[in-house]
Symmetry: C2
Subunit: 363 residues, 2 copies
Amino acid sequence: MTHRISVELATTKRPKPDVSKIGFGSCFTDHMFMMDYDADKGWHSPQILPYQPIMMDPAAKVFHYGQTIFEGLKAYRTADGRILLFRPQQNLKRLNRSNERMSIPDVDEELALEALRQLVLVDQDWIPREEGTSLYIRPYVFATEPLLGVAPSRQYKFMIIMSPVGSYYAEGIHPVRIHVESEYVRAVAGGVGQAKTAGNYAAGLKAQEKASEQGYSQVLWLDGVHRKYIEEVGSMNVFFRIGDKVVTPELNGSILAGITRDSVIQMLGSWGVEVEQRRLSIEELFEAQEQGRLVEAFGTGTAAVISPVGELNWENRKIIIGEGRTGELSARLYNELTGIQRGELADPFGWVLELKGTVSATS
Amino acid sequence: MTHRISVELATTKRPKPDVSKIGFGSCFTDHMFMMDYDADKGWHSPQILPYQPIMMDPAAKVFHYGQTIFEGLKAYRTADGRILLFRPQQNLKRLNRSNERMSIPDVDEELALEALRQLVLVDQDWIPREEGTSLYIRPYVFATEPLLGVAPSRQYKFMIIMSPVGSYYAEGIHPVRIHVESEYVRAVAGGVGQAKTAGNYAAGLKAQEKASEQGYSQVLWLDGVHRKYIEEVGSMNVFFRIGDKVVTPELNGSILAGITRDSVIQMLGSWGVEVEQRRLSIEELFEAQEQGRLVEAFGTGTAAVISPVGELNWENRKIIIGEGRTGELSARLYNELTGIQRGELADPFGWVLELKGTVSATS
C-alpha cells in the first residue's frame, strides 16, 4: 500500500546552524509533517509542509487536559553519505502503545514510517555530518478538539518536527552525578509511567530543579509505592553492573520501555553477559557498593545513548561508582551502539534502516 | 495598585447559544484574556482581545512536556441582575500553588483577579439568566517556549476563556452510579495529584472510558500506594455520611484541594455537623454500608456543586447508598451553596464577590 502524502516545499531555506553551538532541540528544519484526525473521518490529510506556527483554538484539549504523546529518534549520516534510522519501527509501535493508554486513536505505523522517510529525505541536508551529531526526530500526537469536557478528544494532530543536534559528548564521555529522589515521585503502577506522555515529564521538573540546585545533573526515581525500588534516571532507563551480572529494573507499568534499553539488553546478551530484569532496591545497590560488587552504572536513552553514572546521593549517603570513571561495559556499549547507528560497524541485529530516494513537491 | 490591561473589543458579536442545548464548555464568549511571560521580562502585556485562535510554534513545550495548569470557576447572574463570582481569590491562590508544583512562575493574583473582573464585565451579556445556568471561567497557564530540552519553560501564556453553561441538573438532581477503580491510578503522593495540571486529567481518561462502557458515570479513585484508600470521584472531591459524622479523605498530597470541598466543610461545620478529614478505606465504607451506617455520599466540584452518589461498584460488589435517592445533607448543601452563589441567600461566609462597572476599549 502506498500512502499519498502531499508535499509543499519551502520557498526559502533557513541557514543551517553550527550544531556544536546550539542546545538540544532549539533549532528546527525547513519542513514538518502534519496529519489530522476527526472522529468521523479518521486520520486524514497527511502532508509535508514548511515548518511554521500552527493555529490552535484556545480551548484545544491539549492545553487543559494534556492528552498527548510523543516519540524521539535520530537520523544519522554515515561517513559514506548514507542516511540511517535506528529501529524506527520500535518507536512507532511504542507510539501506538502510548496512544492506547492515553485514549488516543492509533496511527497507521506504515504511513507514519513513510512520513518519517519522506520528511527526513526532504530535509536531508539538515543531518549534520560531524562526529557524534545527528538529526533528532520528534513525532507527536496531541488533542485539538476545542471542548472543555473531560473526555477523550475527537480531534487530534499527528506531527513530526526535526532538529539537528550536536554531540552529546563533545567534551568526551563523562560520568554524571545523580540525586536519588525521596520526596517526589515520577509515576506509579496503574498510572501512565509506561506511556511517553507529556504529564510524566511535567511531573519530573520539580525534582530535576531541586537536584540541579544541589549540583546533580539527573534524578534517580524510586517507585511510588514503596519508595525503595529503582525506576529510571532522569528520562533514561538505568543499568547496574553488580558482580558478574547486569541488573535493570523490570518493566512494571511505571517504567518506560526504552528502545535503547532493549538494544542494550540484546547486545549484552550477544556478548554473553547475563542481564537480570527485576526489582532492584536502592538499599541493595548501596549494599553491593559496600561489598565492592557494584562495578558500574549507566543510563540509556535516545539522546545520550549511554550515560555513565559516577555518583549516587541518597538521603545524604554518597557512593562513587567505578571510581567515578566510565565503566568497561558502558564504553563498549556506547562504541558498539553508536557504531551501528552510524553505519561504521556491522549490524547483526538488523537495527538500522537506510533511507533512500528523493521526494518532490506534489502538485 | 492598578493594572493596565489593554482592551480590544470584538467588532462583531456572536449569537448567544441556547444553553439548555449545548454541552459543557463547547461554546465560548466574544473575548478572552491573554498575558505573556518571558524569563527576562516576567509577565507582561496583559490584554483582553476578541476570542480567536492563537499561533503556536510546533515545538512549544506544552505539546511535548505538558507543563500547564488550570482553574475553573463560575460567574452567576442574580435575579436582580447583579454579577457574582464565588470565592475567586481561592482559585487564584490554588492556581499559584499549582504553578509552584509545576515549576511555572507565579501569576500576580491581584492582576489575575482584575483580569477576571474586566473579562466577565466585557462579556457580561454572555452570563445566562435561566435557573441553574452560569458562565464557566477557565484561567490557565501553559508553556510556550519552542525548545525540546526537558526543563521548565522560559516562556508561558496565561489565558482566560469563558463558556456559558446550562444547568447541570436540568432534569433534576439525581444520584450517579460510580465504578470503584482497582486497576488504574490517578495520582500518588509525591506526584502531582494536588496540582490542577493537565496530566492528571489525561491520566484519568482510560479508567473513565472503562467505567462508561460498563454503564457507570464516574470513577472512584483509590490511592496509588495501598489501592484501598478513597481519593476522589471523577474530578470531584467526595464525602460520605457515616453514622452522625461526615467523612472526607484528608488532603494527602495526591488529592486536589477543592474549593467546593472547603466550602462544604465550612458549611457543615456551621450547621454543627462533625466533619472528619482522614484516611478512609473502601473496606470501611462497605462495612459501614453492611452495618446500615452509610447514610449518604456525594461528590463536590465547581461543575456540579454537589453530585449525590447512589451506587458504588467495587470488584463486583455493589452497594446502593441511601436507597439510591439524594440524601438530606446533599440536598441541603446543594440548595444553600447554589443559593449563596446566585445571591438568593445570605452569604454569612463572605464567599461571593460582586462585579460592578463597565470596561471600555483602550486606545
